[in-house]
Symmetry: C2
Subunit: 455 residues, 2 copies
């Protein structure tokens, strides 16, 4: 699998001169993405593209090729695959569409058989490509100005749907989330989700695996892989086609059978996979795990400068299945009462009230990080109140480096707020716009931590 | 009530020379907000602030004052109120804190009695202030650089918590939502949520009322008001302190009794109030109603260029309580099949696939807007795909103006996507980042439309 993500040389078969065509876009992205190895364009009808010498066939390339990316029409794919095999190029990323998903099962079966018989490995067909942030490998067929690429970090995303992958990747980048790998695997003609999960379990950069699936062909393999991988890395999964009508839509999308809702939810529960009910929730849980946050227990202390936010967070934690409200130790409470004016409410929520200063936050954070009765801190900072100075992000960042307890930050607002939140995200803190989303994500993380112990 | 939102002259009592103090901030905001009438600062200890002549007392002002904003310490408030009464200023916005919420019930009762006996009206105490976008009335005590003010539009927000109000207002502005009025009413010493709802029911600019409450003093009045107002305007409500522990937090915040969850949910259901389970959901439903969108029925057609998004939306609609998937009429289906290549899936979801062009969207939108079997269109546009041109926002905007069916747009992505979404929002279309959120909001709207008919 290493040849897919850390190749030294790549051939792109089907690089059109037309800059809107898939092969051309991928070729350009590999170059603009700063890929360090050789990138060789293949096209029998031209001799030069973007100042690169074009080869008429992969069989004409004398250099050793680690990965061939195939972007030719479906009916030509098998011919190209055979040429690759002929020159011993065994790793293929096939982005071409037009197979099982539009009824051409026979063509796809023929391709699969050839790959298997010749011990070749392929990601695809009918996929968007792959991206590896640590190796500057940008083999996605969407222009970089339409879909921004994330910086290196802890999320890896295995996605059966190209469009979902692209959209989420773009939004995640905007919100300063960081990725190790993104893999759109389409019809899973050869390499499937289970193979990718196994590989990511061992990827040192991956802290959390996001998974969007529509249909699974080998259920037993999938079950066993999830169980094995969950013990090593958290998996957050979302399943398309869980309803009867959604299942019908799956059939016409990736040609897969969607399967029953109860079956999938049962599998996820048994194997310790975090089930996300929406794309946003998948994203929320992943951003909590992205920086390697682990939660040793389930007792959450709320610190806030907005009373209403404290109340809504209390409601959310009380209603969560796997979280409880922490109680400040009598020592912590007595110290905080001495340090704060009487308007501050020293309980849970710890309400620093509307005239809270950065200093007040510092005292509260220090006390809570030392209190053994607290496992995680839900830190609400509303930057709209006038006495908060922007250096609060440094105070929070410092505390995050010093304590082993997760600090989850909630701030709602416009540009001023967003910039401060991004700054905290860049320092490694999970940040949220709404308290309910943060608590829901923490709840799922707490479930995973409990489950992991008994897997 | 009109004097609160459309005053010709305002006195601000307690305008400090210190620019961080509440009275100073409000005074400055009124001026910078472009308020057209007179703004008169009151402070016995100085003669000039920001080039305005300062009066030592409201009793020294000879002009007629429609609204007095009081920002003095709690123990001085009653004295100032009496002076206002003395010069026949009967409408007061009292932002000062330090009453019932910190145990000073007696002081608040005294104030309330005086107001009642002298037929004065007050919003507050312990509140953030009010904002009216149509009358350039910015009487909020948060600087404008920390909390951006929304443009005139259809949302009015009645909020017992100042911090929640400020944070949501700021975020909503960032996302191009538009407001009529924002009212933080704090302890509801005199004017309460019911009085404000009654007023907003008749406000011609308000299309939807958002309500955040923690505790209600007069339950019967509240119930009757909700029932009456719901028939005229949709209300989206969120209630802080629905759990036992959340209720305790309410007590120390606004000094109110939170009440039982079942009671509130029952009241909302009976009176046709849309209950929001989170701040984000309140926001989502409100943005659907902001532009006056009404949904005549519950049959939703999905149009998408991402198969996975179509599937997740199908799942969400199938799982919703008040929505069903529309069926294309045989005429629509046959016309679309003629117009599109065979890769396009002419069903629900109508999947225009990854090479969808702006033209393909135009044909799909026109056909669906003419089909009588469709009540609303969930339009998924993922701008990451290469053949979509940016003029698609004009095509969608034009269709929105021509059809009476709601078109709800879902696009996920970074800056490129966001700018196009904002452009659509400015043309009056509701836009969402995730399909599940859009469907959930539509589901709540459909519930309201059904309920309204039998209220």
């Amino acid at each position: 699998m290493k040849n897919f993500f850390e190749p030294h040389s790549i051939a792109v078969v089907g690089v059109s001169r037309n800059p809107n065509k898939v092969g051309h876009v991928i070729f350009k992205n590999l170059i603009e993405g700063g890929f360090a190895g050789d990138v060789i364009p293949i096209n029998p009808e031209t001799s030069q593209i973007l100042n690169y010498k074009v080869y008429s066939s992969i069989t004409k390339v004398s250099k050793k090729i680690d990965l061939a990316i195939i972007a030719v029409p479906a009916n030509v794919v098998l011919k190209v695959v055979k040429e690759c095999n002929h020159v011993n190029v065994k790793n293929l990323l096939i982005v071409s569409a037009g197979f099982g998903e539009i009824g051409n099962k026979k063509l796809e079966d023929e391709l699969r058989n050839y790959l298997n018989e010749n011990k070749m490995s392929a990601i695809g067909v009918n996929c968007l490509g792959i991206y590896d942030a640590y190796h500057n490998l940008d083999a996605l067929f969407i222009p970089r100005y339409r879909l921004r690429r994330p910086k290196p970090g802890g999320i890896s995303f295995v996605c059966q749907s190209g469009a979902i992958g692209a959209a989420i990747l773009d939004k995640a980048t905007e919100e300063h989330h960081t990725f190790s790998k993104f893999i759109s695997y389409g019809n899973a003609t050869d390499i499937d989700e289970s193979d990718l999960l196994e590989y990511l379990a061992e990827d040192k950069h991956t802290n959390v695996i996001c998974l969007y699936i529509e249909g699974i062909k080998d259920g037993e393999k999938f079950f066993n892989t999830l169980k094995k991988v969950s013990k090593i890395k958290p998996i957050v999964a979302i399943k398309g086609g869980l309803t009867e009508q959604g299942g019908k839509a799956v059939l016409s999308h990736t040609g897969a059978l969607a399967g029953k809702k109860e079956v999938y939810l049962g599998i996820f529960k048994q194997t310790g996979v975090i089930y996300a009910e929406s794309l946003e929730e998948m994203f929320d849980v992943a951003s909590l795990l992205e920086k390697g946050v682990a939660c040793k227990g389930n007792r959450v202390q709320i610190i806030t400068n907005g009373g209403g936010y404290g109340i809504l967070s209390t409601d959310a934690i009380s209603s969560a299945h796997n979280l409880v409200l922490a109680s400040l130790s009598s020592e912590t409470a007595s110290n905080l009462k001495k340090a704060f004016p009487p308007t501050v409410s020293v309980h849970n929520p710890l309400d620093l009230v509307g005239d809270a200063t950065t200093e007040r936050y510092k005292i509260a954070l220090e006390a809570c990080s030392k209190d053994d009765g607290i496992d995680a801190i839900l830190l609400i900072v509303l930057y709209q109140t006038p006495l908060i100075t922007t250096d609060i992000v440094e105070v929070i960042g410092e505390m995050h480096r010093e304590t082993k307890k997760p600090i989850v930050v909630v701030s709602t607002g416009g540009e001023f707020t967003q910039n401060l939140s991004y700054s905290l995200a860049d320092s490694g803190l999970p940040t949220f716009s709404y308290p309910e989303n943060a608590v829901k994500a923490l709840d799922k993380l707490a479930w995973y931590e409990q489950k992991k112990r008994v897997l």
